[in-house]
Symmetry: C2
């Protein structure tokens, strides 16, 4: 009967997890066999891709120099703490006033289990903790769809799944599935649906303890009072809450998810230490990349002075939109490809509160509230549970919504975000607020994008010039991967460039 | 259109979470108004209920003495670390050989967000972290149902939800729902089902990236290879994997869940400090509880000597099956009620491994693997991610399965659990094992139960004698709650007893 259970693609015991094609880091021993020597490499850009390239090449003794235009490494991996100051391309200057121990990850915030980012955390000794990517107690609020009040994930899910189960169970009961599946299958389906939808033998969905309680079950005398009454099926469907449930099924987003303890920038900090600070020049804005007969010459400015690095090879790990604005002699095909990488917008605001009212009053210990408002997502913090203060991500939005917020002053952004959050959480969303800090990537100097859109994907012909070396220059970045906007894309792209460069040196 | 959205039971902004009826802790100020004084209370049993009662009464200055038969407080809240020794009622003696930093929670292991247990963690300064109660990367393996290989949660869910969506979408398409819901509703349902089941416009489920990948998406050139092929609908239904999905919808079990950092016994440890060690006598086995004209006399043995405590009141916080074997003069109705509380069985084995192969090889960073085998559940650790060693709960089973394992020697239990785990995880489940420790509550002296079954619930007439004082004796324990087996039940039952006792003293 289960002869084809092998169709699941698994051996009698589970296989090791799917992984990217095996990567073998360069090692000093590679040269002794070949009679070659490690080369000198200039890495342009000290984000994750650039740092990872220097780190992996450094394992084999390559002499790497990393040039980073900003004052710190990490690129879009940016954790904002009290005292951090930014000035955006629109002239907004902000200094974060977060309390000790409070932070916001302005860029990447979460790591799925399968991504190589976690392998780097292990290798570099960066402790991780759960990133709370879903929470049954968080809210859903589709204001535009006409919802008058937020509803908890658990309640919305109980109702949606309850009605879906009822409809399918009754359709089966009436013979509507008879042509598609056998009677045995329908019996098994019915058993599943009763459990999945918490519907009884009448097949009617009439509510469930899964919706939650008005009064929680407690000691004898307090059996608890279920939340009710149950909205009609039309209301549940029209509210649009169902659109949020598939998020947690996605390969990139399904729990469990992780974050470094203390902030996402523990990763570039560890990479920076591993590469060696002496090899990294910050405040070094590259002005020209010139491929030469036997290597590369990179020109940059640092502290008002123009400097040059000569190297055998270059790993160009700047965002493509920035690289496109940098002088180079890599040819028009490269330039066209860089210009075809379209920059995207995203922004976040961190709201530090004097109390963790979402925990004490709403029993929300992490997770994400979803809305159809222009703030899109609200993230409750995945650290500091039960503590005194906490920092919520008051919006995490993209595209036109991010651009709209970016056009405001930081104070106006706070006002707009808080006014919307109050609709969901009540007055404390405003009265407990201590300070805020907002960050928009399209307006961030030397980056000017949250991520990039490559029409047809990174292997489309238009991008071929970036997937091979241009003379002695190799390209790397999450944009040249199938997981753009994820550090995994930057790491695996860097590995690809490193492998190609090292193979050439050994050849 | 959404006029009845108020049916969700929520005001325009979300209400504070549902909570048990407000509890007001006794305070010294209560007496000054009434001209009364705090009384002397003997608390029998130093588990969560007993400690909580002494803690709350102590806030108002009650002179509490806690008698605990075992060598430590906490009752079933028992965290096993290296060096801990147990001897069960069958004569099995074990000493745990876990490495430094490794532990297993032999009793309660998880805390839902809504339970008052988290309030006590906050009040007592016990840090918490996420308990990983579900994981898309964990396995499902129904060997008895004929499955030849484990399947990941995410894969099983994609297939089950995919086929459910296909069946319902096609039923709607054929008009089978026309009598139940409107055309608009069906349109919205269809939109939901396409997303929920990842089915295309043909409404056929033909697989999905949500199933997972054989080769993960990575850099350009590596788009990833989806796991496949997709098993037929009959196979998916017959495998019975769908029975595990509703677990995460349950009010008690839905993520997010929490655990104290460092072990569940941080809670009784903090309570013990707050009550004051001088008020707690361990190794003090109560032999008689005697209600007298003006108070209570409790007799116990300690170090081979018989001792007595005289007090105004007693909180009897022993498990009912133990209390039923203790001499008392509380009357036959009390005795019958105690005997009607039926003890249950549960057991766990902790398997410490020399490497965290489930993380490196299987990309499973926490969560639970579900089976239809006699080990029932396998828990991957929720702490120490990316570290050197780790401790898996190799079985967590109940009832007959727990009794079957309890009847074995600790070594036999390990052999049996490992042989089954190998079927799921492969050879490392055996070869990487460093040490194990098993614990069965039905065989644990002075407890002899994992939890209790009260026919009809705690408010059934049979248990009325336990829900009121017997003379000067008040009963408390999770068994006298609607959340038996949860610390929340013990805490709320203790609060109820404290409130009743304090009211009487003030009256």
């Amino acid at each position: 009967m289960f002869a084809t259970m092998g169709a699941l693609g698994l051996a009698p015991t589970a296989q090791a997890a799917s992984r990217e094609p095996a990567f073998r880091a360069p090692s000093p021993g590679d040269f002794s066999l070949k009679g070659r020597a490690a080369a000198k490499v200039v890495v342009v850009g000290g984000g994750i891709a650039g740092l990872a390239a220097a780190y992996e090449l450094g394992k084999a003794g390559y002499d790497c120099t990393v040039l980073e235009a900003r004052g710190r490494t990490g690129g879009r991996n940016f954790t904002v703490r009290g005292g951090d100051t930014t000035t955006d391309t629109l002239g907004n200057r902000q200094t974060a006033r977060f309390s000790d121990g409070q932070y916001m990850n302005a860029g990447p915030g979460r790591i799925p289990q399968w991504m190589v980012t976690l392998d780097y955390c292990r290798e570099l000794g960066v402790p991780v903790e759960v990133f709370t990517n879903e929470n049954a107690n968080a809210y859903l609020f589709n204001e535009k769809a006409g919802m008058k009040a937020p509803v908890r994930y658990r309640t919305a899910k109980a109702d949606m799944y309850g009605y879906v189960a009822e409809l399918l169970a009754k359709a089966s009961d009436k013979g509507a599935l008879d042509r598609q599946i056998t009677a045995d299958d329908q019996e098994r389906l019915l058993e599943f649906l009763k459990d999945f939808g918490d519907i009884g033998d009448t097949l009617d969905y009439t509510g469930s303890p899964r919706r939650g309680y008005r009064v929680d079950p407690a000691a004898a005398g307090t059996p608890g009072a279920e939340l009710g009454p149950v909205p009609a099926v039309s209301e549940v469907f029209a509210s649009g809450v169902g659109r949020y449930f598939a998020f947690e099924f996605e390969y990139d987003q399904a729990m469990l998810m992780f974050q470094p303890v203390g902030g996402m920038d523990r990763i570039p900090a560890a990479l920076t230490r591993a590469v060696g600070e002496r090899r990294i020049r910050t405040g070094a804005a590259v002005t020209e990349i010139k491929d030469t007969a036997h290597g590369v010459t990179v020109t940059y400015t640092q502290g008002g002075r123009t400097r040059r690095v000569e190297a055998d090879y270059c790993v160009a790990a700047l965002p493509p939109n920035i690289l496109a604005k940098t002088a180079h002699n890599l040819g028009p095909a490269v330039q066209s490809a860089l210009e075809a990488c379209k920059p995207s917008s995203a922004g976040k605001i961190g709201l530090e509160y004097r109390s963790r009212w979402w925990e004490s009053d709403h029993r929300i210990f992490g997770g994400i509230t979803e809305t159809d408002m222009d703030l899109s997502h609200i993230w409750y913090p995945s650290y500091g549970h039960l503590g005194e203060r906490g920092t919520i991500i008051g919006y995490y939005n993209t595209g036109a919504n991010a651009d709209a917020y970016a056009a405001l002053t930081p104070r106006e952004r706070e006002t707009r975000a808080v006014a919307q959050g109050v609709k969901i959480h009540g007055a404390k969303y405003r009265t407990e607020l201590a300070t805020s800090f907002s960050h928009h990537w399209r307006q961030t100097p030397y980056l000017e994008a949250s991520w990039h859109s490559l029409s047809g994907g990174p292997d489309a012909p238009a991008f071929a010039p970036l997937n091979r070396p241009a003379g002695h220059v190799y390209f790397a970045g999450d944009y040249l991967s199938y997981t753009d906007a994820w550090q995994h894309g930057a790491f695996t792209s860097a590995r690809k460039a490193v492998t190609a460069l090292h193979s050439r040196v050994l050849a």
